[in-house]
Amino acid sequence: MRVSYCTDLDKSVVVANCEKRGWVQVGPEEDWNIYWAGTQTCRSLFSVDSGYRMNDNQLINHFPNHYEISRKDLLVKNIKRYRRDLEKEGNIMAERGDSKYLHLDFIPVTFVLPADYNMFVEEYRKSPQSTWIMKPCGRSQGSGIFLINKLSKLKRWSRESKTPFQQQLNKESYVISKYIDNPLLIGGKKFDLRLYVLVTSFRPLKAYQFKLGFCRFCTVKYDSSVAELDNMYVHLTNVSVQKHGGEYNSLHGGKLSVQNLRLYLEGTRGKKVTETLFDQISWLIIHCLKAIAPVIATDRHCFECYGYDIIIDNKLKPWLIEVNASPSLTSTTANDRILKHKLLDNIFNIVVPPSGMPDVRWNKIPSSEALGDFELLIDEDLVNASENGENSSARNNSKWK
């Protein structure tokens, strides 16, 4: 039994992990068991005209329509729909107070432009002092993002982008989100969290959270004044942005581990608030996945590792910023390399059944030893089983039902 793998990404962590397992690299045309592919490759493989049919011993690292979660506009659309649906059902999770959702208020108020322009203006007028952030729906790494504190600035931007030449360029739509202007600062600097979540199935939902995420710090002190509105080193935490700054340090890469963040918060703010924060983070991850579960084309050959971007505000409330379907696997520092190596290793341990050969007929219930640094977030199979009283397995330790 030889396991073969294929990858179209030139990432050393991927290759090193596969080699370590004794898997043999093959080309895409050959007989592969595991494909670690870019999203484009994956999409064309699944497209009708490719005519490719996978067999039972093949796994691939993306779901066909992952953009339902990774495109900024679709993510928001799906979450809004999810909340509305729950509300219609009369589900208490969709309870509102003061017009806001009490339990599902985890994304900043967001509109899609140009489509929702009028709704945005209405919201804008409610608090004209607020700052907003404009982001192109389909781009990443901080590109094309800018901050807005006046409606006139947006109007000017849209006028300029309507010129015929620009029209071509700006066919892409944008989201505009309420800017979280009170982020939690450490050492005076803004940061966000990069957390990894592995999904091996959407219906039933099976998801795992990686314990070893990190915080990505800005290199310049946070300053919410208008003068610094255009200074991306102050506002955007993307490493791809920060590494161009003069203050970037390549030894630590601006990355602090989540365990150390937790140590710091428990030490300086106490246990209760810290625990609540991390519980709320797990909560928002699960509900975000539940929100897209109905629209994902579920396919037994697929698994996917998401990079969640989360900002914590100074009241220790977490906010979901976006979800990446191809989180960066490039290592910026020595510790980063160790982390990403473990990530890949643990992912393979979970998606490959104990036999060692990928097999979609497997029930996708890994042993607790196989989880490594992943923690079970939710497995609806196990939830259902224990609700039916068939199985009160000790493994079913998910906090969220």
Binding site: G187, L251, G253, K255, L256, N260, E266, G267, T268
Partner: protein
């Protein structure tokens, strides 16, 4: 006999009272008691017992007891017949450091101390919370010495009565020094709770069973809160023996060390800050350089860089440190540049008497995980320095001093892993050369912060640094298999470079618990 003892106690009491009156806590304590005396519950007819009762009810008795407890800890003196020998060696070493500072000054064309101009003062003040943005050119400065240099000094200690005939080999070992260190069974007696395998709360408990950890932690928190309410320092020390929950550590440590913040501490810290603003010391650059070389590049501490600048600069101005250090270091008297050599223009250089070595910042950095506020951080760090850290970079005969700790490392390794010891010897690798940095920095910057704080809990709990060489030996032994495979210093260093997977409490338990049967 009885009479003699009474007299002794009497003398001690007088001494305590005297010292207490001179301490910084005294004023506020005395004022609080005065206020109490003015209340109707203290009766003139029965002054003593009513006052005592009131003090007990108002927590002032605990405060007074805490002061005495800390006094005893501070005054604990071991004297050895070799004190004067070690003292001479330290003074000799201090002089070498001073010489090296002076020559760095003349090389760079700068002076040891000068008053700051108004514009510089203002800039420094404006950037007090972001000192990483304060422009200073430090690229020509280099650390005065590093742990390896200090080890050379220690190895060159000739020993007060060394046998001249067998010297060559001696560059190898500390064995020639006539100091007594604890063997494993004495260490087992000292670290009784660990040796007995009692349940100790630590982050690695989590790995075994999550449920146990949650329950144990809840119990510990409950007990810890009670002790904090009682405000009684000896209990805090006892408490730490069974492990400290992360959320209580800052308060437990502050209580144990008497580093609580009152108005005196706030104004004293501000006074130190004013001193930093007022004059520029050559070692300011060394301090900045050290933070630059260590914390600023470290993914566990880089976010705290600015707090560390404040704390370390203020530390250098703190003359109380020089006053409280048990063996006063040799210090220089320096006049400000361009000023007449009169007493007003002369300072002790540096006021703290402490000249940082490469990695000195690491004595303070881990406290950033416990305190947001620089003043709180400062006083806990300072208390640690005065109790422990100063012994790690100074030559002394104390059983807590670096010389004894090195010797202890050596003895334990030799005794429990003679094969490994001989392997090192055969390859002419001196293991202390690899681990000296762990010992001198009390593992700070080497262990991940959570493990490090657990180790420092144990230092406080047993009021001893002997856990450090013990842990160093255990780590070396733990990696024995890989160490036996290599035969160069560089490779040995590589095997011991990464301590990120070390679990302090389980490792120590493994070493100290007696095998069954």
């Amino acid at each position: 006999m009885e009479e003699l003892k009474d007299k002794n106690i009497h003398q001690t009491t007088i001494k305590i009272c005297e010292d207490l009156k001179n301490s910084s806590q005294y004023k506020s304590l005395f004022e609080d008691i005065q206020k109490l005396v003015a209340t109707p519950s203290v009766k003139i007819e029965d002054f003593k017992s009513t006052l005592l009762k009131c003090m007990q009810e108002n927590g002032l008795e605990a405060e007074l007891k805490n002061n005495i407890y800390r006094w005893v800890k501070m005054k604990r003196k071991e004297s050895s017949s070799y004190d004067s020998f070690f003292r001479k060696s330290q003074i000799h070493w201090d002089k070498r450091i001073h010489k090296s500072l002076n020559s760095m000054c003349s090389e760079l064309g700068i002076s040891l101390a000068k008053l700051r101009g108004n514009s510089e003062k203002e800039e420094l003040l404006n950037k007090w919370n972001e000192l990483s943005n304060f422009e200073t050119d430090i690229h020509k400065y280099r650390p005065v010495y590093a742990p390896k240099d200090f080890l050379e000094v220690l190895l060159n200690l000739k020993g007060p009565k060394r046998d001249k005939s067998k010297c060559d080999n001696q560059r190898w070992e500390f064995a020639q020094l006539p100091l007594r260190v604890k063997n494993l069974s004495e260490l087992r007696n000292l670290y009784l709770e660990i040796s007995r395998g009692e349940q100790i709360l630590n982050s690695n408990t989590m790995l075994s069973t999550n449920q146990n950890f949650v329950q144990l932690e809840a119990e510990r928190i409950l007990l810890g809160e009670k002790i904090l309410m009682k405000n009684y320092a000896p209990l805090a020390q006892e408490y730490l023996k069974k492990g400290c929950p992360k959320c209580l550590r800052a308060r437990i440590w502050a209580l144990l060390l008497g580093a609580e913040i009152k108005s005196y501490q706030i104004s004293y810290f501000d006074f130190l800050k004013q001193n930093v603003l007022q004059y520029d010391l050559m070692i300011d650059k060394l301090i900045i350089k050290d933070i630059n070389l260590t914390a600023s590049n470290d993914d566990q501490y880089f976010v705290f860089e600015d707090v560390l600048y404040q704390v370390m600069l203020c530390f250098s101005r703190d003359s109380e440190i020089l006053k409280y250090l048990p063996n006063q270091p040799a210090f220089m008297q320096v006049a400000f540049k361009g000023k007449p050599n009169t007493p007003e223009n002369t300072i002790v250089f540096p006021p703290s008497g402490v000249i940082p070595f490469h990695g000195f910042t690491m004595y303070a950095a881990p406290f950033c995980y416990l305190f947001n506020n620089s003043v709180e951080l400062y006083f806990v760090f300072r208390a640690f320095y005065l109790r422990y850290w100063h012994r790690l970079h100074r030559v002394c005969a104390s059983s807590q001093g670096i010389v004894s700790l090195c010797l202890q490392f050596e003895r334990l390794l030799q005794c429990y892993e003679p094969n490994l010891w001989n392997h090192f010897k055969k390859c002419r690798i001196y293991p202390l050369r690899v681990v000296i940095k762990w010992i001198m920095r009390a593992f700070s910057g080497h262990l991940p912060p959570e493990q490090l704080l657990t180790l420092w809990d144990i230092i406080l709990a047993y009021d001893s640094l002997e856990i450090i060489p013990l842990l160093a030996v255990v780590i070396v032994i733990f990696r024995k298999e890989n160490l036996m495979k290599v035969n160069t210093l560089a490779n040995v260093e590589a095997v011991l470079a990464d301590l990120s997977s070390i679990a302090v409490v389980p490792l120590l338990q493994m070493a100290l618990m007696k095998e069954e049967g």
